[in-house]
Symmetry: C3
Subunit: 200 residues, 3 copies
């Protein structure tokens, strides 16, 4: 099971790195920009979580394998990929969103902090990579815009469900699968049916 988790983490990180590098290419950046944006997208959410919680050195500093994978994924996709099939990207990105959110909440609960903070950290871990990517590209983050399909909301709801299940003593692995699964399914449904949040 440990191994599956590790594989999923690599998939999520690499998916984010690719998304960052392609975005950098669209913005006429060079390979320095592309790998930096790849790092920011892949590690941004978890890094902000670790800094806020005081878990330092941050996670990727302690895991050179992830760092190398991100670097290679970013560089390769900058030079070799024209674009990613929209459908494939959506699925891989949704896996990352689900997995990162549950990981963020889990680490927070391990520090015995309040469930409210755990939900927040789940959402931060899930979505802030993309927010940093957009800030570096000098635009208002996509997920904040009013015509964007549900993204942070999926992370929020799935993390709430996960924490509720933990609080009634459901097995941690089962709770993780249900939480991440909810986020994954909800995100795909949101894009399919163009679900957005109500405007004022």
């Amino acid at each position: 099971m440990e191994k599956i988790l590790l594989i999923l983490t690599y998939i999520a990180v690499i998916a984010s790195a690719i998304s960052g590098a392609l975005e950098a290419r669209k913005n006429e950046m060079d390979i320095v920009g592309a790998t930096t944006i790849a790092f920011a997208t892949a590690f941004g959410g978890g890094t902000i979580r670790d800094l806020l919680l005081g878990r330092t050195p941050v996670f990727w500093v302690l895991n050179p394998g992830l760092t190398i994978a991100t670097f290679i994924a970013g560089a390769l996709s900058y030079y070799r990929l024209e674009r990613l099939s929209g459908g494939l990207f959506l699925v891989v990105d949704a896996i990352g969103l689900g997995l990162f959110s549950i990981l963020g909440a889990t680490y927070t609960l391990q520090l015995e902090l309040s469930p409210i903070v755990a939900v927040l950290m789940g959402v931060v871990t899930g979505v802030f990579g993309g927010v940093l990517r957009d800030l570096f590209c000098n635009r208002i983050p996509t997920i904040f815009r009013h015509n964007t399909e549900l993204y942070a909301t999926c992370s929020f709801i799935g993390t709430c469900i996960f924490i509720f299940l933990i609080s009634i003593n459901i097995d941690h692995l089962l709770a993780s699968v249900i939480g991440a699964g909810t986020i994954f399914t909800m995100r795909l449904a949101a894009v399919r049916f163009k679900m957005t949040l109500p405007a004022p």
Copy 2:
């Protein structure tokens, strides 16, 4: 007195959250953007201070009450407020500026760091919430622009006075009131008389 301080903190945080949410609405963000900007405006200054000083987990992670208040204030003002009366907003924001600045300096002195750093941390705590809000909204921070009325300057001068009073052993509470009062009064005067800093 503890209680008064807590009430003032809530007022300052809620005022910042409202300012952030309304700014998000002006920038055509959805409720995710609005609550994120509300958090960044309310907690940004104190968070950067805590990170720089190594006071982790950061303050709001340890205080779920503040987190909930910010979330509700952000969401309510996004959906329900058209705009805030300029005068009311100015007063509440100036209270926040004064209070946050003195709190930032106080925490720094508690760690026995130099008075110069305490002044810097006072200003950072007072003004960086608004700076983060502006960065997320993709524009040059308002308080950096050359036609803006004194803002960081009020925080700087009031914090210097506060630290001077502490250094000559004035009672901490009295010094706080004088420091925060100076910042509050000076900020209102700056807006009233359109006081700006000299250009080169």
Copy 3:
């Protein structure tokens, strides 16, 4: 030797502060903006390194002399300098790039972290001050743009050489001089011969 290092650090920090303040002036900021950008440019890279590694309070909080020097350099250059001679600026900035990169790698190795992370931290320390400066000025960071002469690349290669020399037990001082010298020379050569990275 300690003394030479300290003098070089002051030169690098002051050069960065001047570059930040002049950039702020070009963007029609006031003195608050100018000193803030000066701080961000001078201390940004080292601050991000310290936060990621968990070395808090961050370095400048413990060194009020550097803080005062940055403040004065920022304020003076905002009010008194029209512009800096391009050649002088290039040389001083290249000294800073070399020195900051080697310092960042050294601190990381001291914490017994992996050489890969040490290279990354060298680059981060060397270049992120300028990245933060550009973000505050609301534009895509210069060093990410595809027509920019080698900058992060110089830091990357010089830091790799430095770490290789350390790993084969060369004297630390000699390795530092060779590493920083490579970065310095390569940066000047890159500007002189308009060397850029290959586009996809």
